[in-house]
């Protein structure tokens, strides 16, 4: 902070300090200057009483992006019903722990009587399955978390 410019590094330091102190919002007024910090929040939480949100059966802790750089999230491209099996008596396409190949079917989403197979874009190991079987999903609903397996 000795230079005449605020460098990105210094900004990062400020962020770090704010994060470490769990500051959500920070506002300071001093000698005609105002500094105001606010971490992004889901606008849903800030505007709606959470209790009344019907929507789909999303879970609270659902990620929209993966925090681990080696894992990725498969999201729904459709509105419909999520099925883990091709038919009620069959085995699920995948279980947690399975290794799936690129292009392998992970689940089916039924949209207006059409069964849409959702396939793995990359080879990976299934870490989590988010929706309940037979539940409704919408576009961008996270379906699976996979850990990418790199071929040598």
């Amino acid at each position: 902070m000795k230079n005449k410019e605020i460098t990105p590094k210094e900004i990062k330091e400020i962020i770090q300090i704010a994060k470490e102190n769990k500051i959500k919002e920070f506002n300071l007024e001093l000698e005609g200057l105002k500094i105001y910090f606010k971490f992004e929040e889901d606008s849903l939480n800030s505007m709606n009483p959470p209790s009344n949100t019907e929507k789909t059966n999303k879970k609270e802790e659902e990620p929209t992006t993966s925090s681990n750089p080696n894992t990725f999230i498969v999201k729904s491209p459709l509105v419909g019903v999520f099925y883990r099996k091709p038919n009620p008596n069959a085995k699920p396409y995948v279980e947690v722990g399975d290794v799936v190949e690129k292009g392998q079917t992970l689940c089916i989403i039924e949209t207006m009587k059409i069964m849409n197979e959702i396939q793995a874009e990359k080879k990976g190991k299934v870490l989590r399955i988010f929706p309940e079987d037979s539940s409704m999903v919408e576009v961008e609903t996270p379906l699976f978390e996979l850990e990418e397996i790199y071929e040598d």
Partner: protein, 448 residues
Amino acid sequence: MKIRKVLIANRGEIALRIIRALRELDIEPVLVYAYEDRDALPTQLAKTKICIGKGGVKDSYLNIPNIMSAATLLKVDAIHPGYGFLSENPMFARIVEDHGIKFIGPTPEAMQQLKNKANVRKIASSIGIPILPGTTEPIENLDIAKKVAKEIGYPIMLKAATGGGGKGIRVVNNEEELVRLFPIAKSEAKASFGKDAIYIEKYLENPRHIEVQIAGDEYGNVYAIGTRECSIQRNHQKVIEEAPAQLKESETLKIMEDAIKFAKAIKYTNLGTVEFLYLNGQHYLMEMNARIQVEHPVTEETTGLDLVKMQIQIAQGEKILLKDIKTTTHAIEFRINAEDPFDNFKPSFGKISNLHLPLGRNVRIDSHIFEGYTVPPFFDSLLAKFIIKGNTREEALKTAKRVFEEVRIEGIKTNIPLHRKLLETEEFTKNKVHTKFLEEFLKEIKLV
């Protein structure tokens, strides 16, 4: 049939307008939205909402499978299409009804009839409603075109049968031009609309655009709920609309009567608008819009009626009894668009950094924007509708001046400077407008 749950297949201010009407009727709204609208105000306010697509209108608000999937899985009773998008798509209305869900709008059959402009002319003409002189059957060749044009007198228009909103129209001033343009218009029609059917109509110099709000229930009752003047347009997009249109009382009665006659002829149900051109005391039926209009609030403000609620009431089979519709006040709607009037009306988008909406007496603002909202580049540019009322047109104009002095929208470009300029013109303030006025005015003040 009592409607309890309605899916709203739209966005922006009209989605908000429908949410509000539904709540006031104790009906549950279900909103479908594009991923890009996830932080938009209607999405924030709707308790039940389904993301139906990402990456553009085609994949979201026009995505019939995802919309229908949401509608059936959430067991809605009806779908409100708003305006634009799927609102005038007879196929969509048919699909909705085939799933046992009520489409809030006219029947698919009425919608289909209205899509063909030549058909509209034929029906109107057959029941004695004035239409522009011209043909009701396609013109087969240049010789016939020449003959017809001579009969009705130049200038004339060459029109593609299934065009609309100003598309597929060419103005022809003399026979020489006709010889040159007839084959071009024919192949354009083929390329744009799939059919090379061409009609000839008289071209009016500087007519006014006058329209009649229609409501029809399922028991054959059809009402005209006043007139609107929508002559201030740019590229066939209305910019300022008002109710009632300034006509002689006898003219108002006649135009409303003709609108009712036409709506009855096609067994029109729900709300719609019959559009006319008007010149020198004479009106000519142009088309009928089978949906709620952007400008419906000016009619609401002058009549006290709630047109969106009326759509829902008609859809659930209620009988509509309107008597004594009085318009003792005047209302003007100014469309606030995200576009730069100083740069050829280039669409503008980005974050609204500072917002002050001027409220108070006689001001209604229908808008989905808020301070901090990012206007996305994917959709149309309508940000807000300022609907300003007065006991007289003069009073409404006074309030409009105050409103445009007070308003602040910063961070994006808007057409507010244009409205301020229009409020200073005698043409607008004295209501001496016609459909070409705005384009001429923009040239005159060198804004385009």
